[in-house]
Symmetry: C2
Subunit: 328 residues, 2 copies
């Protein structure tokens, strides 16, 4: 029997889930729930029922795991606890500082209603967190580094587009190669924000706009750009569409640590991702963990879980026996 | 209260465990068990009791987890099932093909006696297995690559030393940089054994030995060298001791996979290790998983486990709350 998946929210992430489910023969996309007019939504993969988000509870018996694809700022803090009442759920909540609060709200809803709910699943938080945590447990005497990119930051792109005279724009976060090399060499450098990442902006200006002013506003924007070395390129809308329409991302989690009675030996653990499509990869991580949610719920587990709580075997369609024979 | 660790077997790995336990404030080394004369063994870290391996069962109430540091060829297949009767145990059994058999023997001993037993913990099998498995679950439409090195292969070094006229020798396994790059580029190349790794040998010959004959014997040795491009350097014993006395190792697990309705997006997941000391790093992995064994046993779990079965949070001394607040 297939794992019956529901998607709540049909943006880039929801579409990524749709594609990911098709790649997993043990899963089936049963329904898409949307806050838009369901009639207006045409699923890319064909004949999937589309329902209003408000009516989701009517379909709770048709869905094993509901994947909630809302935004972290305002959607997920409401949606995940709400839908955890009627469904086993999973989300990609990524506001790191608010995870404990989100966990508490989701845990209470899921526990009271006998469901499994996973939060903050994706690559950061998610796979990167797992690697930070495991590398730290293995090499307790060491130092962690996370680099992001090269990739598109949606938040920084939005910030550019809010500037007067800017028609469109896209921002790439880029790790500084020298910083990466210093970390890999085991030097355990202390790195400032500016030393770790640079920011590169591709901006389409409105006709007659003051380019120098736009560039200065970007480079001096507090929090977003002022602490970084930022490059601004003005290009045409055509060039932006042609060369910068993708949503690539990636990054590196590196731990450098010492062992030995006299700390004489150095070790480097590195985990990296190079992603053509940030939302599709995040969706693929969510799909694998949705399988884990399904298995945990079947076992009678309940409450809120994170990637730290899930035995890796739950992610795989293979049995323990198959995993040991083929992948250990 | 500390986790009370016992070490069975005081070779390179056992000594690594001793050093790793000292780095983990929640652990305490309670005893070392040896097949040698206990009086002849002087633990590097000082005043640790040393007992005969035969008498280990007399000390079962003093030990929470016994880390078995024997060899995979003949020691562990006997030792791990045997000691799983009296202890929670963990080993680094690394004969991939015999894991199912070893699992069955250990599972039956551990289950019958109410203990938790982990097998095949280290980096390969171990962390590399985990990364192969998880990357495969996340990107089902893709291809796996494992490269080893640069590092010392004990088996190949032993093979060299068995050749007539060879006094001493050390062999390094080295990944071919072009193969690594082809994999990272997402080309999903089909690679032969020869295309993936080269082998470099440093050989100390006996006086008057026929160097050409030794070199030819090495390069043509079936299984070990014949399928590889092998380089042989003759050096002095002094040079060997000075430049090649370490036991470095490492490697790369890379999965390249596609997502999207039309498989239009490519993703690369890469995990790599660069280790100054193979046994000390393996010991550090064992120590972290010994913590997991302790926690699982406390919860009343029993039977044989592998890295696939252990929720990552069990590796850490931090609570779930601390992990979520600081590392997610």
């Amino acid at each position: 029997m297939s794992i019956r998946i529901g998607i709540l929210g049909y943006g880039n992430l929801g579409k990524g889930i749709e594609a990911a489910v098709l790649q997993n023969p043990d899963m089936e996309l049963k329904a898409i729930f949307t806050r838009r007019d369901p009639a207006s939504l045409k699923p890319a993969s064909g004949n999937v029922p589309v329902y209003a988000a408000d009516s989701a509870a009517d379909h709770k018996d048709e869905i094993d795991v509901l994947i909630i694809c809302g935004g972290s700022a305002t959607d997920l803090p409401k949606q995940t606890p709400l839908y955890a009442k009627d469904f086993n759920v999973i989300d990609s909540f990524d506001t790191h500082a608010k995870i404990p609060e989100h966990f508490a709200a989701v845990d209470s809803a899921a526990s009271e209603n006998g469901h499994v709910a996973m939060i903050s699943v994706g690559w950061d938080p998610g796979l990167f967190s797992l690697n930070r945590m495991m590398a730290g447990a293995i090499l307790p005497d060491g130092k962690d580094y996370t680099f992001w990119g090269k990739g598109v930051s949606q938040g920084h792109s939005d910030a550019i587009r809010r500037i007067e005279g800017v028609k469109n724009g896209k921002q790439y976060t880029i790790p500084v190669p020298e910083a990466l090399e210093a970390v890999r060499s085991g030097k355990n450098p202390e790195l400032t924000t500016r030393q770790k990442h640079t920011r590169e902006c591709f901006v389409v200006a409105e006709e007659g706009a003051d380019l120098a002013k736009i560039e200065s506003e970007i480079k001096n924007m507090p929090n977003y750009f002022a602490d970084y070395d930022t490059t601004v390129h003005f290009i045409s809308e055509e060039e932006l569409q042609r060369d910068h329409s993708g949503i690539p991302h990636g990054g590196f989690v590196i731990r450098s640590g010492k062992t030995g009675l006299n700390k004489e030996n150095q070790h480097i653990i590195e985990y990296s991702l190079k992603l053509d499509s940030n939302p599709e990869f995040t969706a693929s991580v969510l799909a694998a963990y949705a399988r884990a949610v399904y298995k945990m719920a079947k076992e009678g587990q309940k409450g809120c879980k994170t990637v730290f709580d899930v035995a890796p075997a739950y992610l795989s369609p293979l049995s323990g026996e198959q995993l040991r024979a083929s992948l250990l």
